[in-house]
Symmetry: C2
Subunit: 345 residues, 2 copies
């Protein structure tokens, strides 16, 4: 059972386990600092498919399949799969899971999808609603660029605040029974929109949502940043991370000492010419499911807040002059389960 | 608590209640046979907004607000809102809920979204994960046509199998405490794709998913169609409904006597020139939240299976020659709660 301690936060009393996970990335991500941690690096980011969209679907399918294989499970063992992505009508997910024959709830949380899916899978596991529930998401530089920005061939110049969409996918399988990493709590985000309209500055648009969700969780659990080894945002990049510190500083919260951002971790920022950092739903999914989860499993990281942010606009809403509504969902991951009867994580 | 009786089906042991609901539709739907049951009919389907997309967002917001008002609740009372829609990046939902300040999980289930959201909200209420959880979705003829098919001004001819996207929204609020209508069980769909590629024949594409989910539920609960007053699909229309009967007939299931389809109910089929019937996520949402739920509340309908189907393709996947993956989620609604200790609904 889970205990609701506020309007946004649920404590997962049985501390479900992330049983298995897998990550797949493209060539550029495979040349970054996390190279050795990914399960698969695709030097050919088409994956042998005719289109980028089919390649991205293939990445989701392979990430789920690989996570299953690592746990010696088959798709038939899964009782629920939560998946979503950035493409129109989330086709990476629906085509990715099409052949898996798995009960499926589709999500749309943009780059927050991994935290949303992991939250729901963990809630289902904690309440014995599913023995095995999985979450998967992805992004692909080529499918995202041509959908959200410009044809790849156009070669438009990118402003310094722009981020580089990660080609990658991450999948995680959650179960109720117990080995680390454990999921101890989740905080559901509230849509936040401070009026940012610049689609080349997603970090700035998303930082207020991250600040809001982190503040909510810390308040709900009566904890402080120093109670965690790592507070890991999804893809705020350099610009968004700095803004996040400034927003929280106003309320006396000093995040910088324990904060990192998947968008800053996945690339060598200067050498790989990614401007403000990585982005995309596959960014935090692939970082979580490669480098982070093993660190928690081994106890090198004991308490991690995984906070993935999503920008919920479309090219249509942008063209119609709308600002960018954003959301951040939080998952508290730990190397230890909650002590029995604990009312704080 | 809920009890999992199969890989796809959960029995909701405490039979959560749909506390309140509301529906909003456009002019054409307001001229149909369900006219008197809708909460609001917008003769101006722009809702005074500059764009169709903003109008559709406005419909979701009003549906939620109206459902809250009918139960004398405020948005601040909601602990979770599940929402999604058909537009790219689900902007009807994210912009619709932007000002509501509600914990939010975004969904993508195309026209199955109402059943997906209602399933999740009900599971949360049944397991005391939320006191009040809501589900909302929408579609708008004008925003859908121009996104999925052709510019409205083009006036292209529609084949007889084509359906008419409903302009409408429906919202429902679920709680654990008890008055009818009750939610007794949910079945999660599995993506089904029999190779249909004609985007002007969604009924044919979606019928196999509906057949699969209905068969799963009947088998899991050891019940037959005649155990229900109504088995209500979302928007199969005339073509899809006929195919559904044929698919189930092969397995000795005679659905026709208890079946209806929201896409056939919402319009006067001949007079309103809607070809194969209504469609869109707002179709079954507005029919459920206007005509159906009060019938269950009053006991005129005692046991209803609400089975919403979704076609999970995009214009990109269509242009790339892909077939249409579909899904159907099922919610068992009843005028009576489950008897204590029941292991079938």
């Amino acid at each position: 059972m889970s205990t609701r301690i506020s309007r946004c936060t649920l404590l997962l009393d049985h501390s479900p386990s992330i049983l298995s996970w897998a990550s797949i990335v493209g060539k550029k991500e495979g040349e970054g600092p996390l190279s050795q941690y990914f399960d698969l690096i695709c030097d050919d980011t088409t994956l042998g498919e005719e289109t980028w969209e089919k390649a991205e679907s293939g990445m989701q399918k392979r990430a789920v399949t690989q996570a299953l294989e690592k746990a010696k499970l088959a798709a038939a063992d899964l009782e629920l799969l939560f998946a979503g992505d950035l493409l129109n009508q989330c086709i990476s997910s629906s085509y990715g899971v099409r052949d898996l024959n798995v009960p499926f709830y589709g999500l749309y949380g943009a780059c927050s999808t991994m935290a949303e899916g992991l939250s729901l899978a963990s809630i289902f596991a904690d309440n014995q609603l599913a023995n095995l529930a999985a979450a998967v998401t992805s992004s692909h530089f080529c499918s995202a660029e041509r959908q959200f920005r410009q044809p790849l061939e156009y070669g438009g110049q990118r402003p310094p605040t722009a981020q580089w969409t990660v080609t990658g996918s991450g999948a995680a399988i959650v179960t109720k029974q117990g080995k680390p990493p454990y999921v101890r709590a989740v905080t559901t985000g509230i849509v936040t929109d401070l009026g940012i309209k610049d689609i080349n500055n997603m970090g700035a648009a998303m930082a207020p949502a991250a600040a809001s969700t982190i503040q909510t969780f810390l308040k709900d659990t009566n904890t402080r940043p120093e109670d965690y080894d790592l507070i890991l945002t999804g893809d705020l990049g350099i610009v968004g991370s700095t803004l996040l510190y400034q927003l929280l500083e106003k309320d006396g919260i000093d995040l910088a000492p324990v904060h990192n951002d998947c968008g800053k971790m996945i690339y060598y920022m200067e050498e790989q010419d990614v401007h403000a950092g990585g982005s995309g739903a596959g960014c935090c999914a692939s970082v979580l499911c490669s480098y982070i989860l093993p660190q928690i499993q081994q106890g090198a990281l004991q308490n991690v807040l995984f906070v993935a942010t999503g920008a919920l606009m479309s090219t249509t809403s942008f063209q119609q002059g709308e600002s960018i509504p954003c959301i951040a969902h939080l998952v508290h991951l730990s190397s230890q389960p909650a002590p029995p009867g604990a009312q704080t994580p």
